[in-house]
Point group: C2
Chain length 138, copies 2
DNA sequence: ATTCTTATTGCACCCAGTTGCAATAATAGC
DNA sequence: GCTATTATTGCAACTGGGTGCAATAAGAAT
């Protein structure tokens, strides 16, 4: 958990809200929505304001302690230990699958060649149907 | 402008707000943000409520009269006559480039093969650097 | 342990977008 | 052209997320 060290090293303070949020994201080792994080923190420390939570998440992201993945309809956070990757969320059952970082390489190449456009796909969240739900729907 | 006919055919009413909004999107023949649409409508008819505008846009989208493209940081609308495509917006100069519908085909294929996951990329908005800005930045 | 500095917090308010509901207006039937 | 029906609207209130600022507390120095 060198995250605390990272923050200290930058002259940032180790406050209770920061500790709680970082521990939660680390221990969960999973993808969390802002809502889940807010609910958890409020369960333990009701006096912590939501603005503090959003500011903390922003700070953790800036310092690369957590990664934030956002798409039109959902934003999720996960601990930096889990590395860079993209996410697929099943719109039926909610199942989340991580997938490899270079998934969009062909698209990036194609945009560069055809339009000279430089796009860096990072932490993309995609909605769709997982195998099981696709077959059930048939 | 068969859009009006489309709406009529479904028993939907041709109200003034709908006429104004649809005409604007059609005549602009361009990508418009919700804000631009709201400003325009308010300029002409100050009494039209923003909720009406959002509801109208939603309705036009459901009936495929306009297409909505959304990403984390921007939502844009354009007339259905312009067809399906994706958008690249330069994060420096704001320039917007349309690009072909099948851009994400390799990604869709790869997700299907590796994970059995079914994602349909439609109206994706990407942020990045256009050729000019990329070169200026060095 | 106390004091001081200033990073961090809580608060109260802002913003874009959404929703429930009663009031209004578009249109079908006369 | 009127009337009745009901789709649509305006309103007011709500949502998730964000911001400026005065109050608070972390941690350095004593």
């Amino acid at each position: 958990m060198s995250c605390f060290a990272t923050l200290k090293g930058k002259g940032l303070r180790l406050t209770q809200p920061r500790r709680v949020i970082l521990d939660f994201i680390h221990d969960k080792g999973d993808h969390l929505t802002a809502e889940e994080i807010i609910n958890y923190v409020h369960g333990k420390f009701p006096r912590v304001n939501k603005s503090t939570i959003y500011r903390t998440l922003e700070l953790l992201e800036k310092n690369e302690c957590v990664f934030k993945s956002e798409s039109m309809d959902r934003t999720i956070y996960h601990h930096a230990e889990e590395g860079h990757h993209h996410h697929m969320v099943c719109s039926k059952c909610g199942k989340t699958i991580d997938c490899e970082e270079d998934l969009f390489a062909p698209v990036e190449r194609s945009l560069g060649e055809k339009y000279g456009f430089n796009v860096d796909f990072k932490h993309v969240v995609m909605s769709g149907l997982c195998e099981r739900c696709k077959n059930l729907t048939g």
